[in-house]
Subunit: 271 residues, 2 copies
C-alpha cells in the first residue's frame, strides 16, 4: 500500500474544508418546482446543486493546480487534467444531487487521491453535518464535533441478520440488476434506501452491514474504497473484483455477508 | 381552530427538550449484530432504541402528570392515561426506529397536543440535528441553530413535476397499496425513500411535494398534522378524509398534487 505523508493528508483536509465553504450556502435554498414547459420557454431556472458542484470543483482545482501542479485531476464537472507525479485527485463535490435538492443531509463531497491509478486516500465529507470520513494508510476515521474517532465495521455472521442499504430500490439498477437486488433485499433482516456516498460512512461506522449500488462513476467510488477498507470492510464490484473504475459496487462489513451477497446477486437462475 | 396559549406552547417545547436529553446519548451506540439463535439462548441484547424510547416517554409522562395533571396522555410505549381537561398529549419519542438503529438522522420525537380529539399542536423534533418543526395556531416554524424560521410548502403545478417521498417502497404497504404506490411513483419526477416523520418536515420546508405512508398509528401522525397544515399543506388519508387516527396518509404541498395523488392511489382498475 502506498504510504501517504502527513502533508498530503493535511492538504486533502484543506480541500474538503474549501469544498464545504463553497457548498454550504447553497443547501436548502428555496426553489419552486417549475414545470418543464416553462424551462423549455427559456425561463431562468435556479439550480443550486450545479452551482454548488461546479463552484466547489473549480475551487479545488485552483488549489491543486497552484500548490501541487504535478498532480493530475479527474472531476465530474470539469473532466481530466493530466499530471506527472503519479498522483491524481478524483473529485465529486456533491455526490447525491437528488438528496441535496430534496433538502436532506445524506449527500457528500468526495475527494480521493489515487497513486498510480489506485485509490490511496478517500474523504467522504458532509459539510452541513460537519462529519468527515477519511480513509488513508490502512485506517479510517470520523472527524466530527472537534474529535476524531477510529472507525471499525461490525461483524455480522449471516446475511439474514444484515442491514442492507442502497440509494434507491430501482432507479439506478437495470432490469437484471433490479431482479438480483430484489432477491438480495428478501434475504436480509432489513433494507433502507437513500444515502448515496453517506451509506459507506454508515457502513464504516458499523451501522449497516451491506451497501449495494450500480452505475457509479470513478469519481463516485474512488473515495469510498479507502474509507471502507480502512474500517476493515470489503468493497468490490458484483463479481468480487476491483471496483475503482465504478459500475456495480457491493460493500460489506463482514466477509461472510459479502460472499453471500455476491452469490445472490449473481444467481440469475434462482427464483 | 383551538387557540393554544403561549404557556402551553412553552410547555410543549420543554417536553421536546426533555425528550432529546434522554435520547441523544443512545444514538450511534455501537452494537454488533447478534444472530437470532443467540437471542433465543437468552443472551442480553443491548437495545438502545427501546431504552431511548421508553426512557424519554417515561420522562415526558412524569413532567405532564406533575405539571398538567388534568391532561390525558397517549404514548406508544406506555399506553393511555385518561384526562379531564379536554387536552391529551400524544407521544412517540423515537419515530423511525429503523433509521435510528441504522445510525442515520432521519427519525424524530413526536409530541402532539390534541384538544377534544383534534391535533392542535405538533412537534417533530430531531434532537441530534437540533432541528425542531412546530405547528400550532395555524402556522409552522423550524427552530434550529438558535433561529426561528416560518415554514411554507412550495407550489407544484403538476404531479409529473413532484418529488415524492415515502419511508420505504414496500415494507409498510400491503399488496394493494404497493401496486397503487408503484403507479404513483411512476407518475412523479423523482421518488426518494427513508425518512419517517422527518419527511413531513421536509415537505413543510418546501423541499418535497408529496409524502405517502400507510399503517401509521395515531401517535405517528397526530404531531404531523399541525406542522403540515401550518405550512400551508394538505394532509389526509388516501380517501381525502381526516387522518388523525393514523392508517394511510398522504400529504402534499400543493392541492393539485394532492388531488392527482388521491386519484392515482384509488384507481385500482388502472394499469
Amino acid at each position: 500500500m502506498t504510504k501517504i505523508d502527513d502533508a498530503t493528508i493535511r492538504f486533502a483536509h484543506r480541500l474538503a474544508d474549501a469544498s464545504g465553504e463553497v457548498i454550504r450556502p447553497y443547501f436548502r435554498q428555496r426553489i419552486d418546482v417549475i414545470d418543464k414547459g416553462k424551462i423549455m420557454e427559456g425561463a431562468l431556472v435556479f439550480d443550486p446543486v450545479t452551482a454548488a458542484d461546479r463552484g466547489a470543483e473549480a475551487a479545488l482545482r485552483q488549489i491543486i493546480t497552484a500548490e501541487r501542479p504535478e498532480d493530475g485531476i479527474l472531476g465530474e464537472e470539469f473532466g481530466e487534467l493530466a499530471g506527472h507525479s503519479g498522483f491524481r485527485w478524483v473529485l465529486d463535490p456533491v455526490d447525491g444531487t437528488r438528496a441535496f435538492i430534496n433538502g436532506r443531509h445524506e449527500w457528500g463531497s468526495l475527494i480521493a487521491l489515487e497513486k498510480d491509478g489506485a485509490p490511496a486516500l478517500g474523504i467522504i465529507d458532509q459539510p452541513v453535518l460537519r462529519e468527515r470520513f477519511i480513509g488513508v494508510n490502512g485506517i479510517a476515521e470520523l472527524h466530527a464535533g472537534g474529535s476524531v474517532e477510529r472507525l471499525r465495521v461490525r461483524p455480522c455472521a449471516d446475511i439474514s441478520e444484515a442491514i442492507l442499504c442502497a440509494t434507491h430500490p430501482y432507479a439506478y439498477f437495470d432490469a437484471g440488476e433490479r431482479a438480483a437486488f430484489r432477491k438480495l433485499a428478501q434475504s436480509v433482516r432489513m433494507s433502507r434506501f437513500g444515502g448515496d456516498c453517506y451509506l459507506f460512512g454508515i457502513l464504516a461506522m458499523g451501522f449497516a452491514d451491506l451497501v449495494v449500488e450500480s452505475h457509479l462513476h470513478r469519481w463516485d467510488v474512488a473515495a469510498l474504497i479507502p474509507v471502507v477498507k480502512g474500517a476493515g470492510g470489503i468493497i468490490t464490484n458484483w463479481q468480487g473484483r476491483d471496483c475503482s473504475d465504478g459500475g456495480q459496487v457491493v460493500a460489506a462489513g463482514d466477509a461472510r455477508v459479502h460472499e453471500a451477497a455476491l452469490h445472490i446477486l449473481n444467481d440469475r437462475h434462482a427464483d
